[in-house]
Amino acid sequence: MSEYLIKNGFVFDPTQGIKGDKADIAVKDGKIVKSTEISSKAKTIDASGKTVMAGAVEIHAHIAGPKVNEGRNYRPEDKLFTYTPKGAGKRMAGGFSIPTTFKTGYEYARMGYTTAMEAAMPPLFARHVHEEIKDTPIIDEGAYPVFGNNWFVMEYLKNQEIENTAAYISWLLEVTKGVAIKVVNPGGTEAWGWGLNCLTIDDPVPYFDITPAEIVKGLIEANEYLGLPHSVHIHQNSLGNPGNYTVTLDTLKLAEKFKAKNKFGREQVLHSTHLQFHSYGGDNWGNFESKSKEVMDYVNTQKNITVDTGCVTLDETTTMTADGPFEHHLTELNHLKWANVDVELETAAGIVPYVYSPDIKVCEIQWAIGLEIALFTKDHMRTFITTDHPNAGPFIRYPRIIKWLMSAEARKERIDTFKHGAKMIEATHIAGIDRELTLYEIAQMTRAGPAKSLGMANLYGGLAPGMDADVVVYDFNPNTPHKPDDIEKAFSRAAYVMKTGVPVVIDGEVVNNGNKRTIWVHAKVNENPQVMRDIKDKFLRYYSVTQANYDVSKHFVPNPYVIEVDAT
C-alpha cells in the first residue's frame, strides 16, 4: 500500500482544465486518487514553487528494433565519448542520436516522459522490436506495425475488401503485439522495390495497381471498422521534397469523409506525423520555403486530424525510416554512408547520418517550419511535439524545443546566430511570430493531446483520479521571472518523476527502474477463414520463415498491458 501526496505545486492538467492552480496530487497503489482517499501515512513530496504535470507521452519516435539497431551498428562514432559507467541499479549507457535501450529509458524518464511509442515496427522483425522494448527501462512502450506497403493490405484494398483488411490487421496486431496502423510512404516503399516511388497520392503502385490514396482511405475505413484506440498513423508520400505541401493537403483531405468510431474518446481518423518534413514549398532547394501556414490553416479547421511537428533541432543525427527511396535520395544529397534493408512482403528501411547545420540555409528553414507548425496551431490538443527521433534530431532536445516555443526571445537568439538569417527569414514566417506558448499548451502538446490521440486518455496524460499515477515535478516556478534557458534546464532534468506510483527519478537522476509495461491492442473480429488461408498461403509461398516462427510469443512481452477491442 504505497501512498503519496505531491503537495502545493502549480498544476497544469488539460484533462481537468487546471491551468497552474496550486493543488495537491494524491496517489494510492499506482493510481491517482482524490486527496480524501489517502491516509495520514502518505509520503509527502513538497512541490511548492514548482510545476506539476502528468508524465509526458511520446507519440512518434524510433527507439527500438532492427532499424534503430542497424543505426547503432553502423554509427560507432555516435557513441564516442557518450558513455556513462554503470551505477547503483543503472546499466552502462551511451549513444547520442541512437542511444542504447538503457539510455533511451533513462533519458526519457529524466525529462518526465513515462510512455513512448515506437513508430515503425516491421512485422517480420517484431520480435527484435519487443526484445529492445523489454530492455528499455522505466517507460511504458508500444509499437506501430507498418502496413502501408504490405502485400496483403494492397491486395485486399485493391478489391475493396475492408472486412478482410480488418481481419488481417487484427491478426497482425496480435501476432506482433502491436498498437496501431502505421503507414509509411503508402505504396512508395513497395514501388521502390521496382526502382520507382509514389510521389503523389494518385501514383499507382507497380504490379498491385492501387494508389496511395486508395491505401490510406481503405486503412482508415478498416481502422474505424475495428474501432482501434489510435487512428491510422501516416508518414505521407513525398517526404522531404520541396513543394510537397500540396501532396500533404491532398492526403489530409482524404480524412474528411470519415468519422471516428471507437470507445476510447479519440476524435481523429488520421494522425499525420512529422509534419515539418511535409510542409515544403518551392520546387528546388534554392527556392525552398515554408508552407506551414497553408498546411496549418487546413489542419486547424479539421477535428478529424491530429499532427506532430517533427522539429529540426540543429544537431548531428541519424535519419532512419521505412521510406527506403527517401533515404536513398538523402545519401545522394549529403554523400554520407547509407544502409538499406528490404523486409520481404512487408516493408523496407534506409539509414543515413545527417548534420542539420545552422550554417546551411535549408536546415535553418527546416528549423523554422517545425516551430511554426506548433505556433500556428489553434488547438494544442491536436498538435504534438516530436523530432521524429532521431530523424529531425534526438528526443533529448525536447526541452530545447519547449524553450523555443515558450520564448520569442530564445527564437530570436537562435536566428541571430544563423549564417543565412536574412534569407531564412524571407523563406519562413518565424521572425514575424511573437506568440509564446503557455505551460498549459505545452502540457496539451506533450501529455493530454497525444494520450487522447492514442485513445489512451483513460490511462495517460492527465492527473484525474483513476488515471495511472505518472506524475512529474519540474523545478520551474511559472510565477517568477525567468530566463529562456531556465525552461530548458527544468524540462531536461525533472525534479521528481513517478511512474505508475513508483518514484523513478529524483533531482534529475534515475533512482528506480520502475514497472515497465508493453502496451498492445487485441482487436477481436469474427472468424475469417479466407484471411487465415491467405496468410498460410503467403507463408508457404513467399516468406523465408514459417508462420510458427513469426509470432511474438509471450516471453518477449513479459509485462503486457492489453487494450481490448471487440469488432465482432
Partner: protein, 266 residues
C-alpha cells in the same frame, strides 16, 4: 616549463586506459594530485598512482607543462589524448590511441606506437621515432571526419589504413607503409618516403599522397595527368601526377573537377 616524470612501477593485468596523461590535466597539480587522477583498468576506476611513480609537478598552464613517461608502457592506451598544448615524451612503446584527437602541443615517442595513434588529430606535432601501427591519423571507426590538422612524422614504417578519411594536416612516413593509404581521403597530405604495396588512395576525393618508392599495384581508378617538379618536406623532386579515384564522386571548383592527387616520384 615544469616537468612531470611518470615511471611505471606496476604493470596492469588488463590494459590501462590513461587518457588523463596530458599537460592539460597535469597543469597546476602537484605530484600527489597527479597520482590521484583517474584511469580505467577494464571496468574498474583506478588512479595513475597505482601504476606510476610520479615526480615533479605541472606548470601553471598546459603550455608550461612537460611530461616524460618512462618504462614499459606497452599496456597503456590513450596517452596524450585530446592534449591541446605542452609536451609529452614517451621513452618506450605505448599501446593504442596515443595522441588520439590531439589538438596542439608536441608529443614525441622514442619507440613504436600501436594502432590508432593520432586518430582524429586536429593540430600539434606528433613525432614517432620508431614505427607506427595501423590506422595512424585515421578517422574513428564509422566516422567520415578523420585527421583535420597538425603533423605526424614517423621515422620508421607504418601499418595499414593510415590517413583513412583524412581531411587535413600532414602525415610523413620515412619508411614503408602497409596497404590502404588515404582511403576516402578528402584533404591533407600523406608523404611516404618508402614503398606502399597497394590500395593507395582508394575512393580518394581530394588531398595529396606522395610516394617516393614504388607502389606494387596501382588502383585502377587513377589516371596519369602530367609530370611536376615539386618541393616536398623541404626537398626538391620530380613527380608523376595521377588523378583519382575516378570511381568516386568529385566536387567541381570553378568549373573544373577536383581530383585527389597521387604523386609518384620519378
Amino acid at each position: 616549463m615544469e616537468t612531470v616524470t611518470l615511471t611505471i612501477k606496476n604493470q596492469p593485468t588488463l590494459y590501462l586506459e590513461a587518457d588523463t596523461i596530458t599537460p592539460d590535466n597535469f597543469s597546476g597539480k602537484k605530484a600527489s594530485e597527479i597520482a590521484a587522477l583517474h584511469a580505467y583498468e577494464g571496468r574498474d576506476q583506478v588512479t595513475l598512482g597505482k601504476y606510476f611513480e610520479v615526480s615533479g609537478e605541472g606548470g601553471a598552464t598546459a603550455e608550461d607543462t612537460r611530461i616524460v613517461v618512462k618504462g614499459n608502457v606497452s599496456r597503456v592506451k590513450y596517452i596524450g589524448m585530446k592534449m591541446t598544448a605542452g609536451e609529452i615524451l614517451i621513452e618506450d612503446n605505448p599501446d593504442m590511441y596515443t595522441g588520439a584527437w590531439m589538438h596542439g602541443g608536441k608529443l614525441t615517442v622514442k619507440g613504436n606506437v600501436d594502432a590508432f595513434a593520432g586518430i582524429g588529430m586536429k593540430g600539434g606535432e606528433f613525432v614517432i621515432e620508431g614505427n607506427a601501427g595501423n590506422y595512424l591519423g585515421a578517422a574513428y571507426r564509422g566516422d567520415w571526419r578523420g585527421m583535420q590538422g597538425g603533423v605526424i612524422r614517423v621515422k620508421g614504417k607504418a601499418g595499414s589504413d593510415i590517413g583513412y578519411f583524412m581531411n587535413g594536416g600532414t602525415i610523413i612516413v620515412h619508411g614503408n607503409t602497409d596497404v590502404h593509404v588515404g582511403t576516402h581521403m578528402e584533404g591533407g597530405k600523406i608523404i611516404i618516403k618508402g614503398n606502399a604495396p597497394s590500395k593507395v588512395g582508394g575512393q580518394m576525393v581530394g588531398g595529396e599522397i606522395y610516394v617516393y618508392g614504388g607502389i606494387d599495384v596501382m588502383m585502377p581508378g587513377f589516371k596519369y595527368a602530367q609530370d611536376e617538379e615539386l618541393e616536398v618536406d623541404g626537398e626538391k623532386g620530380n613527380f608523376s601526377l595521377f588523378h583519382g579515384d575516378t570511381g568516386e564522386r568529385h566536387p567541381k571548383r570553378k568549373g573544373q573537377i577536383v581530383y585527389g592527387k597521387l604523386y609518384l616520384r620519378n
